[in-house]
């Protein structure tokens, strides 16, 4: 059972490494509302 539990997490780690990231579905910048930065208050 311990081996199976460790293996199941190992499968997830491999999946995370292989998973796509923003390179495969990069959005258009124009779809995102933006605001100008302002100075911090702290």
């Amino acid at each position: 059972m311990v081996i199976a539990a460790l293996a199941s997490f190992g499968i997830l780690i491999v999946a995370w490494i292989l998973a796509p990231d923003e390179g495969s579905r990069r959005p258009q910048a124009s779809t995102v509302p933006t605001r100008e930065p302002v100075p911090a208050t702290t």
Binding site: I17, R35, T41
Partner: protein, 410 residues
Amino acid sequence: MPQIDTGDTAWLLMSTALVMLMTPGLALFYGGLVRRKNVLSTIMHSFFILGLVSVTWVLWGYTLAFGPDTGLGLIGGLDWLALEGVTGEPSDTYATTIPHLLFMAFQMMFAIITPALISGAFAERKRFKAFVLFAVAWSTLVYAPIAHWVWSPDGWLFTLGVLDFAGGTVVHLSSGIAALVAALFIGRRSGLIEPATEPHDVPMTVLGAGLLWFGWFGFNAGSALGANGLAATAFVTTNTAAAMAAITWVTISWLHRGTPSVLGAAIGAVAGLVAITPAAGFVTPAASVLIGLGVGVVCYGAAQLRLRSRVDDALDVFAVHGVGGAFGALATGVLATSAVNAAGFDGLLNGNPGQVVVQAVGVVAVGLYSATATGAILFVVNLVTPIRVAGDVEETGLDLAQHGEVAYQS
């Protein structure tokens, strides 16, 4: 033979739940501080870690941190891998009046929030995949050993006599130093006007700070590991230091910038909570007033220095948790009294100047190890997958680019 005490068990069950709530609270605290295009990614860093470290802690984290020592006081063995042998009966070593599984779960919540704290340093430009791999490695290779050093009865810093009631060094100093290293490694955010932060939702941050303050009663008073007078002491010192630091921070910012900052009240309270963490069960309520005052001044100064530096520790994790954690650890060496806790030691003001030296050794050891190991982990993760997102992704915002979602439709 250890016996379960129902009162102690009830309080630790409650405390564990309180500390769990701190991580979603941290998500809101950090989420309000970033720009609106990055709020979901910032919240996700904390929320995903709640799941991630819950599993790694059960599988191997707990045994590395609290398992029987392997001989040098550096790391626990694999005796309790996947919680084999950790049951509903009390441990012979830890919290002998509550179920061993409950002690494990209480410590799990500390292990969860610590890497989540670091996420504030590289907010708004960290690739999620790299963050996940970093969090697994950091909680295994940095948090677990340091927890063993300080809290295992065979840990080398515990044996040396370092006092850390609830994690000033284990949680806050380690994560604060790691945050500084991470900020240096990943570099500054692009496209920001100096100084480089824009809190997009201050009420969200204040709500997060309130949840953190609430949960911190479990964090510190729960660390008494029983429903007793020591828990009451830690409860009162925790609230007092947070309150004093909040009003101190507001007062300084009022004098410095001309307005009493709401955001300053929230951040000041967190700084006070950080500083009282190592001291909560070793000092008097009067001493906690001084700790709150001192950390309010010191951390405000650290945050101002950071703004003037080239280091883009986006959410001031080092200034609050690194500096606040070190301050609290050293203040414990000055103000501790065995009249509050017979299991502790007297500090400088109670005739034991050597305790300050011991605390300083703990601060330096934890700081150096966290800095070195964090740098090595970041280097390796960056070889596997780039840690920083591309420039156009950073400009678009991580919510849409990394998670395919946006927080606000207009």
